[in-house]
Amino acid sequence: MKPTDFADELGEWLRGDGPESDIVMSSRIRLARNLGDFPFIKKCNDVHKASIESTVCEKVTSHSDLADTVFVKVNDLEELERQFLVERQLISREHSESSGARSVAIDKQEVFSLMINEEDHLRIQVMKSGLDLEKAWERVETIDNALEENIRFAFDSQLGYLTACPTNVGTGMRVSVMLHLPALVMTRQIEKVFRSLEKVNLAVRGLYGEGSQAMGEFYQISNQITLGKSETDLINDVSEIVPVIIGYERKAREYLINESQDDLHDKVSRAIGTLQNAHQISSEETMQLLSKVRLGVNLDLIHDVQLSTVNKLFLRTQPAHLQVLAGKKLSTTDRNVERANYLRRHLNSSQGKSDSGEDLFV
């Protein structure tokens, strides 16, 4: 199976359901683990990396709990295919861009991904749509238990699981929730929210970590510390704060509706208008406008677009997805034209215009 075979699917985190899914895109938990009898990646030579890869591959494929897994050798992939996996959040940018033997094991529903030879030997990641850290943790625990039956991880009785970077030592766990917070951005309260999160040891980052506002008002909130607290407590720290932020965002949305509905309605309508009519459009502008449309759909200001359509467009208008769907490599300029075509076709289809063959590029 080729990684781009996932193209027709939406993946777990864009399914658009699960608790609080109008504001919470996805919940993610990842564990960092290292094989105790190998040096960390920085001091691994090619032989070490290859034997870590094959050891883990063997243990994963032979375990009944992990049977439904696709193994992809990241090192053998084209750049476009690697970027495709990054856009789906199945591998990290670092994993995509580093060198040497490295793989990713992915389950068919794209709920779980296991990166091998990333910053640590193993990165176990589980994603759920909406706010659902509890289910994510259940799954992570099952996978960790399954792996530990056959692999002895580097573990110190005082420091816990040993990781390549001391920022991950202990539990090796990063809990993150991705939130869509357009109203807090529009009402200029987002900085205040960030400052309050900082005080309780939580970190805030953009969607793929890049310049956050440009990425469509999506923010990831995650735990900063990994040592000295149990996994359950670390999850609770995030679980307790997320509903508070959801509450702020809802209040800000209410405020916008009550105090400046004309302004808001105008912004949202211009966003969908541009997306339905543009003939060339960048990925950044698309993200920003889709973010407004998403808000409009959630506030009933836009009626003829489904939330799942918006989520689908978020993913499929990104550079690698666009090229995989088009079946060829495209320059930035060509991508901007292709993207505009794709958007026009999918956002105008509900009004009865050109809706032949969902994913075909004519």
């Binding site: 993610r28 990842r30 105790g36 009898d37 190998f38 040096p39 960390f40 990646i41 920085k42 001091k43 070490h48 990290s92 940018r93 670092e94 910053e119 960790d144 238990n145 530990e148 039956e149 002895r152 991880f153 580097a154 573990f155 110190d156 009785s157 005082q158 420091l159 816990g160 699981y161 040993l162 390549a164 970077c165 001391p166 920022t167 991950n168 030592v169 202990g170 539990t171 766990m173 990063r174 993150s176 960030f194 900082e198 005080k199 040891n201 970190a203 805030v204 980052r205 970590g209 890049e210 990831q220 995650s222 900063q224 510390i225 990994t226 040592l227 000295g228 607290k229 149990s230 996994e231």
Partner: protein
């Protein structure tokens, strides 16, 4: 609620990190350097930078630059330097979460020995001392079997 132990500037860097879900290594490196400068003279820092882990061969300088350690033994070998850093990142130095169900406590020393042997084997191969290399390989195999 525990307080954040980073200064405003470091905290800010944390927030603006461009890595996927964690601070980039260089920032960890910067934090380490800052931390060390407080009570280390240039001479002391220079001497510290030369310190080499006998198991994986990483120098403290390399760690400071990249923010990444070379092997599990580094936590023990650079303990004096790492503990204040770990304290400043996490506000704690004791793990209270999950433990391996098989009770891996005490396995670490043997695992580190395997890592040391792997390095010796690589060096033997580089010197084209294949006889030694194959002896070491057998030793590794034996230790690995004991570990399983």
């Amino acid at each position: 609620m525990s307080a954040l132990h980073y200064c405003a500037e470091c905290a800010d860097k944390y927030l603006k990190s461009d890595s996927d879900d964690e601070p980039v290594a260089e920032e960890v490196g910067t934090a380490i350097t800052k931390h060390l400068k407080i009570d280390q003279t240039a001479d002391e820092l220079h001497r510290l930078d030369q310190k080499v882990c006998p198991v994986c061969g990483i120098t403290f300088y390399e760690f400071r630059q990249s923010g990444r350690l070379g092997c599990p033994n580094d936590y023990e070998y650079f303990q004096e330097e790492l503990n204040p850093l770990i304290m400043s990142i996490h506000g704690e130095t004791n793990h209270v979460g999950r433990r391996p169900a098989r009770g891996d406590d005490g396995m670490l020393m043997q695992q580190i020995e395997v890592i040391r042997l792997r390095k010796e084997m690589t060096e033997a191969v580089e010197r084209e001392d294949y006889e030694l290399a194959s002896r070491i390989r057998d030793q590794i195999k034996q230790l690995e079997e004991e570990l399983q």
